[in-house]
């Protein structure tokens, strides 16, 4: 296909594609298209793998990662381990346009976002709380720890280092509703 302009995105997230396409057709830039498209997915909580209320960590908190890149200027803005801010792609764009840095992370990224006018709010939902509760009830399985004590394949933490390291079998518990 050579039918420019073009929007393409991973997974069957139709509303995100439509939002990006609308941005382009309305005279927006390619950066606007990517930002609008990803932001749509964040609000829609696409597949539970984007935005607030999904993929709770070991403590039950949802944290967000996002990045945007300008293919002309090679400018990039990115945020990782962002807490309490729903519009992660918007913060990533703010990193690109309002700092000379590339990547901000964690609590400091959240403070930056608040200073730039993004609203801080709890990213937990009943759904993410339920996922977290079920995980705790299931002895914290699946679990990404290794070579720690107590045995992470059967027990919850807190964990400490295990004296003798065992051979890791390399099995990963990624599924279609838990991915980057």
């Amino acid at each position: 296909h050579t039918s420019l302009p073009l929007v393409i995105n991973t997974w069957p997230f139709k509303s995100a594609t439509a939002a990006a396409w609308h941005a382009l057709q309305s005279g927006g830039s390619v950066l606007d298209a990517v930002e609008k498209g990803c932001a749509r997915c964040e609000m829609d909580q696409c597949d539970g793998t984007v935005g607030f209320g999904g993929s709770p960590d070991e403590t039950g908190e949802t944290t967000l990662d996002a990045m945007i890149m300008n293919g002309n200027s090679m400018e990039v803005g990115a945020v990782a381990d962002l807490r309490r801010i729903k519009n992660a792609i918007g913060v990533a764009r703010a990193v690109m346009e309002r700092t000379e840095h590339t990547l901000l992370v964690g609590e400091s990224a959240s403070v930056f976002a608040e200073n730039m006018g993004f609203v801080a709010e709890d990213l937990t939902t009943n759904e993410s709380l339920n996922v977290f509760s079920q995980w705790l009830k299931g002895n914290c399985q699946p679990n990404y720890r290794k070579n720690v004590s107590p045995d992470p394949s059967t027990s919850c933490g807190p964990y400490g280092p295990k004296a003798a390291q065992t051979q890791y079998n390399g099995e990963r518990q990624i599924n279609i509703h838990s991915h980057d």
Partner: protein, 140 residues
């Protein structure tokens, strides 16, 4: 996770990602999505790519950067995507992942690694021909 590429009629490109990562991750864990060249990469002189899957594995291979560089050297988008997946597969044969690629002329493609939970990868495309979002898929 969503990974997205946008290209205007003049060939200007942008790419982006947004994700809440893996369920039950260790607090502080960050995946490939915000890592430039891993989750996505764009260079209007060569192409753009966006990856999705197990970021702990994929970020070690910078698959989006690799795919763009392959397109810069003449590979078509599907071949570039397949090569980026193959590079990871050499070391992690059962990794969960997929990638989309687009070159400067607006040609696009996708590839994925076949595992029990991923035998076909779905992605969305909108262009001036369709004027709307169209579901596409590629067998892994």
């Amino acid at each position: 996770t969503i990974g997205m590429i946008a290209m205007d009629k003049d060939g200007h490109m942008a790419a982006g990602t947004s994700t809440n990562g893996l369920s039950h991750k260790v607090p502080g864990r960050v995946g490939d999505s915000p890592i430039i060249g891993a989750g996505a990469y764009a260079d209007s002189s060569a192409g753009a790519a966006a990856a999705t899957g197990d970021g702990d594995i994929m970020m070690r291979f910078l698959p989006s950067y690799l795919a763009v560089e392959l397109m810069r050297n003449g590979a078509d988008p599907s071949a570039a995507c397949k090569s980026a997946i193959s590079r990871i597969k050499r070391h992690y044969s059962d990794f969960f992942g997929a990638i989309i690629c687009a070159n400067t002329t607006g040609h696009y493609g996708a590839a994925c690694n076949k595992v029990p939970t991923l035998t076909e990868f779905h992605y969305m495309v909108a262009d001036s021909e369709s004027d709307t979002a169209v579901l596409k898929s590629v067998p892994c």
